[in-house]
Symmetry: C2
Subunit: 480 residues, 2 copies
């Protein structure tokens, strides 16, 4: 007798067959109806216990949270709420759960706050919300790989520990094998990194882009999907110190092709979860509806979760140049009425999240791709336009999430790249290998970075990024 | 006109059609035959130039390494060595490559040592060997995800930065945001980690197992696939300081099921690359044949690469208990003749790589699963057998590679686990969350860790692990 997954049993029509199934007790009522879940689906399997013929000591151990192995007969259910049920012939308690202890945890059968779930992140997948989010995250991860592999991209694992600090995307964590209390020092009192494990100063990567570029300029189309880090003291619902990033990089591809790729990619992965995670999405959608009830009208969502996902799928992302966006913002109501914290006065201003939200949520009411930003607010490796003042950068902004993608056509001209690095005091010795790629058959190429957790947030409707990664790392928090 | 990939052009039969194709010049002879490669395949596309009608300045720039965009007509080739070729109508030099500079790099058309390729890792995918290995690595990665996703496993991203140092798998790198020259200190001179980014001491993970277990005990079947780290001064062809590990973890699964899973998994992914990477495997197989010619007879492989892979696919892994293995080793020739560096005297000895190699390569001549090791040479979380002296551990040993998998059934009994932790001085406060999983519906469960690079080594036949990861991190080496 093969042990089946609850998800498969719930779909089965092999009535009157004996089956085995394992899992955890989610509910037990009337000493008779055991709701069993094994993580394979949001739905529980009703197992009907013949309590009159069950030894008292076993019956007493059927408590919420206990692990059980069940054998029984699959039958059509007469009860409301389920199509099938198991008439239990044999139940083995594999691991007990003391009700007094369970009461103190998020396993207890009542509504728990998301904060409380976070504090017990090690038990979070035992809750409906935690499990639905993590199942969806897993499917979304696979969709990412499948999209790129089906389209001829190669997966590249760029290094996590990096000897370069020129990536310029933010504050970095230091990595060392030295004794912090007593690190090797030079005569002038500075740290002697020659004595450290790698013989040089090393950090945790903030982006695999530069290394991915070297691979794209050989394999043609590549993507990364790995952890990246920011040692920034940002305690917001959109920032993590450790998060997963997806970075495709494509040779012989310009900014327009880059936008096409990003839009096609996002639509594919959203479509994939719509197709493969309907039960979890339905649960998360209802969760949001409940959550909205406690919010003031203005903050409630005007679309159901799955409708929002379908909307992204079915509509073109609006492509707007930075210059157009500035014009829209300058003449916008909140700018004129000085409701923005940062008033847009002139071309060249860096857009804040309030401006991005206005464009996406109020003005265009759809995902927006902003492109051709002023050169001086963007990174050194972005392709300078012929106007000499803008670069071929693009950001994709999503309703409720803000920036989800940042990308650009890369500066492929060796001389222009060197000039920019000189202007920004980035030593050439530091990036000799990056410059090399511009010496040996350089070409137009582009890529982008997409913060995976923001995508999971969008797909699940979860408001706080800490709820979509298994064990979030944030300032003052590295528990588990 | 759509731009095609070289791989697709080589398969095309759309003769007399005009097509566009981009890539890098791999060879150019007689001012006429340009071998073009874009990374999509190991094979080059022959592009025939009408040099008499091409401007001299363009012709001069068609050098090895240059990036070009080509338009032309697809024709059946009359030359030997290719089925199709492009009659070039238009060629644009996108990026030049100065022959004098190219001469100094691994792009120059001659045999380069693997050491030299490593020094120029940023150009490595521009070589046949580098590209073949990295394409195969990418396919193998996808096979990993596909296997688990098709079998109902959920992908879990366990944390990279960990606040726990109880994983016990080796030396860890420290992660800090403090100024190493002047870290915050307590009055007694010790480091004041409360002032650090996470408010505690943090390290780079050596394994995601413990966190993965918490997920398996809710979602049922999960797997990790992410970077792990060892700050160990191992300068060997089998060790990296940063490497990618695959760690499945399964609830309600015992050691036998764990062995079944590992064997089935390895066979699937090897089968996947045999099916999807034949051209690259053929190239790598021939590379090995060439390499073997310079080796003494005794060190040469007695099987071709693809035959070796098929052998793994078609034969059962030999399952041998540690106790049996000790008996075999004790009465083996090298033990009796004292050829082993470490002579096996009695039960309880830790097996060295020389012993593992003897078992796999001389005695059984096939992949071997060793199981039921002495408790005191294995980790605290492994399930103690009823004999009280062995644990339900298993290692899978591969010919030429050595240990490729290490796994176990996990100790699911709270009291036994606590005893072991006490004996090993692992504070309970450190792993309160791990212990919690044994309180609330604990169950028999198992998992294993597989070093991804060792798998890539096996599948590609590469002898040095540094040649199968894009930018290897080893002692004194964190370049790029």
């Amino acid at each position: 007798m093969k042990t089946l997954k609850v998800a498969d049993v719930l779909k089965s029509e092999q009535y009157h067959q004996e089956i085995a199934v394992n899992g955890w007790v989610k509910a037990f009522r009337s000493n008779r109806f055991l709701a069993l879940n094994d993580g394979s689906t949001i739905n529980n399997l009703q197992c009907v216990i013949d309590f009159e013929n069950l030894p008292e000591d076993i019956l007493k151990e059927i408590n919420i949270g206990a692990a059980v192995r069940i054998k029984g007969i699959l039958e059509e259910s007469e009860g409301a709420g389920q199509r099938v049920e198991i008439q239990v012939k044999d139940i083995k308690i594999e691991g007990v759960a003391n009700p007094e202890d369970v009461k103190l945890t998020i396993l207890s059968p009542k509504r728990h706050s998301l904060e409380k779930l976070r504090e017990q992140a090690h038990l979070r997948v035992r809750t409906n919300t935690g499990a639905a989010v993590m199942r969806l995250r897993s499917k979304l991860s696979f969709a990412v790989h499948k999209y790129f592999q089906d389209n001829g991209f190669y997966y590249v694992n760029t290094p996590i520990i990096t000897g370069s600090d020129a990536e310029g995307a933010g504050e970095m964590f230091k990595v060392t094998a030295m004794d912090l209390k007593n690190p090797a020092k030079n005569e002038d009192g500075s740290i002697n990194y020659k004595e450290d494990f790698f013989g040089k100063e090393t950090n945790l990567t903030v982006s695999g882009q530069l290394e991915a570029e070297t691979f794209a300029l050989g394999l043609g189309q590549v993507y990364t999907f790995g952890p990246t880090f920011r040692a920034e003291n940002s305690n917001t619902s959109r920032h993590l110190a450790e998060f997963w990033m997806i970075e495709p990089e494509v040779a012989f591809c310009d900014l327009a092709g880059n936008m096409d790729l990003a839009e096609d990619f996002i639509k594919y992965v959203i479509g994939y979860v719509l197709e493969n995670c309907d039960e979890d999405l339905e649960f998360l959608e209802n969760r949001l509806v409940q959550e909205d009830k406690s919010k003031p009208q203005a903050e409630r969502s005007d679309m159901l979760l799955r409708d929002k996902l379908k909307f992204v799928l079915e509509n073109n992302f609006k492509r707007v140049s930075y210059t157009e966006a500035i014009d829209i913002l300058k003449s916008s109501k909140p700018n004129k009425k000085k409701k923005f914290k940062y008033i847009i006065e002139e071309w060249g201003a860096d857009l804040q999240s309030e401006h991005e939200r206005y464009l996406v949520e109020k003005h265009f009411k759809c995902p927006v791709i902003l492109f051709d930003y002023p050169a001086n607010i963007k990174a050194f490796y972005m392709r300078l336009n012929e106007d000499g003042k803008t670069v071929r950068a693009m950001d994709i902004l999503f309703p409720g999430i803000g920036e989800i993608v940042g990308g650009s056509q890369r500066e492929e001209r060796l001389d222009v790249l060197k000039e920019k690095m000189t202007a920004l005091d980035i030593p050439e010795e530091e990036l000799w290998w990056y410059l090399d790629t511009r010496k040996f058959g350089t070409c137009v190429h582009s890529g982008f970075g997409l913060g995976f957790e923001r995508l999971v947030q969008f797909a699940t409707g979860m408001g706080n990024i800490r709820d979509v990664i298994p064990f979030p790392r944030t300032p003052l928090n590295a528990e588990f």
